[in-house]
């Protein structure tokens, strides 16, 4: 057992864990943050995507101890109280989910994509950059639509802030 310390959604946490504990299990079982889902457990589906120091990663393929001292953001950490994050709001408005299982990973991937992509997003870029997240219900169309709409709203608010 080793004590692991990191920041999760802004709050410092410290827990004694088995060294082999995966970050996804640490978040779900030690911290009770069950919004991070485990779909395939083989680094394919992206349901477990969280941000580690501002980068999107698959938390089923990272040990909790590899995140020692890092800053983690999970799906629980992006909204403000009952107010949805703009990407969550866009998923709601575009009906970008059906069963919802992949949604936390989709949203976390999309937030990171919108925050970090240098050029304006196009449908082609979104489809390419989101290929690490699998959805078995929607056919992706509305997910892409939601991400483009959230990205556009963000660009508009940036432009108006500049005026």
């Amino acid at each position: 057992m080793t004590i692991v310390s990191m920041k999760v959604n802004g709050a410092p946490v410290s827990r004694d864990v088995e060294d082999g504990t995966l970050l996804a299990f640490f978040l779900r079982e030690h911290l009770g943050l069950t919004g991070t889902h485990i779909g395939c457990d083989t680094t394919q589906c992206g349901c477990c995507v969280v941000h580690v120091d501002g980068r999107s990663v698959k938390s089923c393929t990272m040990l909790a101890l590899q995140a020692q001292g890092c800053s983690i953001t999970t799906i629980e950490g992006i909204g403000e109280g009952d107010r949805l994050h703009p990407v969550q709001q866009a998923f709601h408005e575009s009906h970008a989910l059906q069963c919802g299982y992949c949604t936390p990973g989709m949203v976390m991937a999309a937030v990171n994509l919108i925050d970090t992509h240098k050029e304006p997003l196009t449908e082609e870029i979104v489809r390419q950059e989101m290929e690490g997240n699998l959805c078995r219900c929607t056919g992706y169309h509305n997910i892409v639509k939601a991400i483009l709409s959230a990205a556009e709203k963000r660009a508009e608010s940036r432009d108006s802030a500049r005026v």
Partner: protein, 271 residues
Amino acid sequence: MHHLRFRQPGDIAEALKLWAEDNEAAYVSGGHTLLPTMKQGLAQPPVLIDLTRIPDLRHITAEHGRISIGAATLHADVAASDTVQRQIPALAGLAGSIGDRHVRNRGTVGGSLANDDPAADYPAAVLGLGATVVTDRREIAADDFFKGLYETALEPGEIVTRVVFPVPEIAAYAKFRHPASRYSIAGVFIARTGKHVRVAVTGAGARGVFRPKNIESALSADFRADALAGITVDPATLLEDLSATAEYRAHLIMVMARRAMTNLGTTQTYK
């Protein structure tokens, strides 16, 4: 997951010392091959030595017509590097084509090379560019580094510290990916410096990454896609599995070689 101890050394000397204490220990970097292998029970190292917190192992530096990339540098950072994009766009494109963006945020060049998966992308760039793999104890030329499937010239306990890529006049990479795993079924890297053309094929060789000499000679004589007409690769030297027969791979290699010739000097890798 089996019971294990996790160690995070701050420098190479400490990493080597930890390995000397337990020769069954495994080094881990991004862990995107090792952790899934451990979950399946196919590897059960009693100790994991994480190399990603060693500062010297994470850098991208241009030096005298060469680019040095630290072994623990992320695929995402190689793909986004201005230096790499400007000097070897094909290498930036290759790094940006690996797995998906979340995988590229964890995977490292050193991990990819030490693992030497026959379908990995980096071996194609390292062999195609004639790079040098630098370890804690020596320098290994690309032509001597890759030994077979998941097999390299690395000694037990040896650590890749950086890779030095010579900057070619022009280079390109084209690959045909498995749609689910995103690994190459056939990937071809082409680099020209002066009259010298190097070609490396990944994803297809029965013994891992290799240099098809007939493609190299044809392109050395005439550096145009048309020069590849009539050239074939012997399927007997190629991999065969559920995703592709050896004959199909032989065909794909030539298609990718022609495609690479249209991607020269760009970051374009597939489509």
